[in-house]
Amino acid sequence: MILPGNATVTEPTSITALPAAPLHALEIWANPAKVAARVQKALGFALPAMNHSAANAAITLLRFEPTVWLAEGDVSVLADTLGDDGALTAIGGGIVRFRIAGPGWRELLLEGGVFDTSAAALPVGATAATVIDHVGVRLHVESDDACIAYVPSSYAQSLHHFWDEALSLIGA
């Protein structure tokens, strides 16, 4: 039972800020089916569905919005697929990526949160945009053992601090 101060996780959970990566917003405003077909041909995988991700060696597409995908990696091959149906806009300077790894990551992300991070609600490969301690954060489940959090740069330092303090609470 959860007694005062009684930790529920015993193995270490870690929070690591990742180096800046090329990130783009890929927005499609027309002919979504045709664009999807062109993208599939160019990338070798389909545009992921809402709250899902898909990747090849060069690029990961994460869908957080109905008409916008977050493209992480080399977007050069994408630009030609869009035509007049969509656009790419660089946004990487405004986002800090954190890898939250270890057995306690799901519990840690409940701190200050409003979103169910259990495996049933947020399985491996899933994405979700939510609020953590008043900050808009985007999540991507890398594996059972790790999650990437995309945090606005201006909040990165204080949210990192928030997570560090919360780690001591969940005992990770």
């Binding site: 039972m1 959860i2 007694l3 005062p4 101060g5 800046a20 917003a25 927005e27 405003w29 027309a30 916008v68 007049d84 149906d85 969509g86 656009a87 806009t89 660089a90 946004i91 990487g92 300077g93 405004g94 986002i95 409940l110 701190e111 200050g112 949160g113 409003v114 979103f115 169910d116 259990s118 609600a121 301690d133 008043h134 900050v135 606005p152 740069s153 201006s154 909040y155 990165a156 330092q157 204080s158 949210l159 928030f162 303090e165 919360a166 001591s168 609470l169 005992g171």
Partner: protein, 921 residues
Amino acid sequence: MSGPARAPSGDETIPFTFDGTAYRARPGDTLAAALLANGVGLVARSFKYHRPRGIMSAGIEEPNALVTVGTGGRTEPNTRATDVFVYPGLVAKSQNRWPSLSFDVAAIFGLAAPALGAGFYYKTFFGPAKHWMRYEGFIRRAAGLGDAPTEADPDNFSQVAGFCDVLVVGSGPAGLKAALEAAEAGNRVFLVEQDAVPGGSLLRDPDSGLDPAAMIQRIEALGGKVLLRTTASGYWDHNFLTLTQRLVEPGAVPTNGFAQRLWHVRAGRVVLATGLIERPVPFAGNDLPGVMLSQAVRSYIRRWGVVPGQRVVIATNNDDAYLTAAAIIEAGAQVVALLDARASGPAAPAGVTVYHDARPAGATGRKHGLRKVTAVIGGSEQSFDADLLAMSGGFVPVSHLHMQAGGKLVWDEAAQAFIPGETPQVCETIGSAISPPPAPAVAPAGKAKKSFVDFQNDVSLADIDLAWQEGYRSVEHLKRYTTLGMATDQGKTSNMVALARLAEKQGVTVPQAGLTTFRPPFTPVTMGLLAGAGARNAGAHVRRIPLHALHEAHDPIWQPLGYWFRPRAYPVNGENLAQAALREAQTVRTVAGLSDVSTLGKFEVSGPDAAKLLELVCATTVGKLATGRGRYTFMLREDGFVFDDGTVWRLAEDRYLLTSSTGGADRMAGHLSYVRQVLRPDLKCSVVNVQEHYAGIALAGPRARSILAALTGAEPPRHMGYAPGTLAGTPVHVLAASYSGERAFEIHVEASHAEQVWQAIEDATRAEGGAPYGLEAMELLRIEKGHVVVGGEVDGRSTPHDLGLGGMLGKAGGFVGAAGLTRPALSAAGRNNFVGLVSLDGPIPEGGMLITRAGTSPQGHVTAAARRILEGGAIALALLQDGHKRHGEELTVSSPTRGEKARVRVTSPHFYDPAGERYRD
């Protein structure tokens, strides 16, 4: 009680103090149990009358035994002694007494009693004001609870989300069974218990068929979460509950920094197994130390081995108190009399004399317990020597959460209690809370004046009678007039007793008399818990600009600006803020300066319909903008008023950059999304918020162009032109925009590469004799230039015409706010117009009113005041009635709050280079 109520066993290992005296407790003792065990019966003085008070209950409903726990920033006032578990070093103090608990001046001289009856507060308003002034000081000294701590709380508070299929509140027999059943059916279960151990009533009345510890183990093995020391304190819409969890006891030092946790739980189904609270019995002196609730007496005996009295009178109207009689006998104490208000009852334990048709009428006490109890038996009075009275006036189902959830209550005549009825949420109440035992209504015996109903707020039967006599019929009025039920316990023990009295007065049934509403929180919640992590930093995270660390190295004066922190000035050689800002502004006017403008709102709009969207959002023309050009623009609300301004740049054929004010950036993001997605979902365009993607550096001054040319190796764009470039090996956008009035540029660079770009510009600027400048210098520069600022001159009530921007409006209309702007009132005479002011004497007080002469109504106000940067002399910007037509007029600026005045002449707001000649190379 005389002397300790528990024989030492050697387990008394936990030292604590109460009012400076050292005592010892056993593990598992509440402060109340430990005090009683040590023979301390007097623990508090009452709110108004300073009456001696003891411990009445064994639970969170305790109205009397409020103490202050902890020291320094961890001090927690008004904590129930029954709801604190003793830990080593616990420091507890009594409240509302002077100079000491046992010798309280206010009580001994009876200072309070005559003046403070029902409605005392209101009545004092009717006399002359000077009487109120006299009363106020007296009341403030005499009445009160614990003092708020003066130091900051050093602890952290966690707020955490929880999700479950079934949330069970209460770990008594019903709750345990329900939680186990739900867990066995494969549900995600939360079981919440406010006590430190599970069991609820089983701790008082064990059941050999139910083993709480084993059941908890089973629930947890099935994946359930059991939260102890956790109170379900609020039940909100859509099955959302807030739970407050004590990670350590009040005042204790947490091991991991966190003192409490606030759970935000969304539950599929809620099961309320919240049990009952026992009802006190009204009789004279029912508030004295030594008068306790019957079940509480049983709890102290059975759970803690504390026997709070040796000669006990029991007063009841139900069968449950007979169990207390048995517990007292088991413990070796004596039941002097069992007063049963009913004509008959169950069999009493051996050695207990039962009196039927018997009610308590009065009690008298000594310091830590009772001396004598008087009862009315049949028609005659009888007295008993007794040190403890255990009372039971029936039971009140704990329906608070049910009611918070929007549920109805129904009247149970046999129990004389309201029980949970229909509920709009997925929620049910089970166990004793839905089926309280029968307990008939009993008319109080004894004097009304000292028969307390609301113990915490010192409301007696006489106060209720007085309110009735003075015409207060509705329960809502009664509550406000007497303050009944308005104490920190929200009337947990008092509401039903009071309602019964009111019903009796009205000659109606209790449900006809009405019921007040229960509101969250169920028990008091500390402020720190509600603030969460924000308790330390004013409630929100600070947003850091990309170059925060670089600026920090210059040791600037920081300025909080919304969530952001920005450099306000960079003082050198011991300058103060004003000196530094003036030097920085003069440097911009004469050489060059650089400033961080990264917080500007920035949006990239791309696609074939990008211009169409911008023409809708911006009130100025945009469509005709050539690639590589930009212009000033502003945006209107639908009602026609200006709400933001910025610049718009055509970066490429199908791509624009829109900037907007720092403070309005989030609002602008929402507005753009609304216009694009709700109003014009058909447009072929993409709007992306790039506020944080780009760091922005402003470079301004007569040498800005040459500095930039040298850094980029290219001729910078002319004023309001755009060019991509490379600076310090980094791709940049160069926008030739000016806020200062000088030839100037905004250099936007991907934030992660901003440092090398800033450093290169700073080095080159310093080499020319320039310097960085902060927000304060920027303000001096823009005031002199006469640029409006959102939140200053753009105050939500100004039209483009008011601000002198009418000429820039898109002639074709079609933008948001165009229709609103045609309303006659927005072009009527008498509107506040944007003007400049030049002082004819001293400094102009910011915020001052513009008047023609003393005693006349203000005709406008000063929005920003400054001085001419190079020439000196006070200037200001203002909004003035019909100001456009009043240039040359002399007025007075008066600031009564600052006690300052200045004579001014109205001018154009553009003091500096009105023709814009300095923008030309």
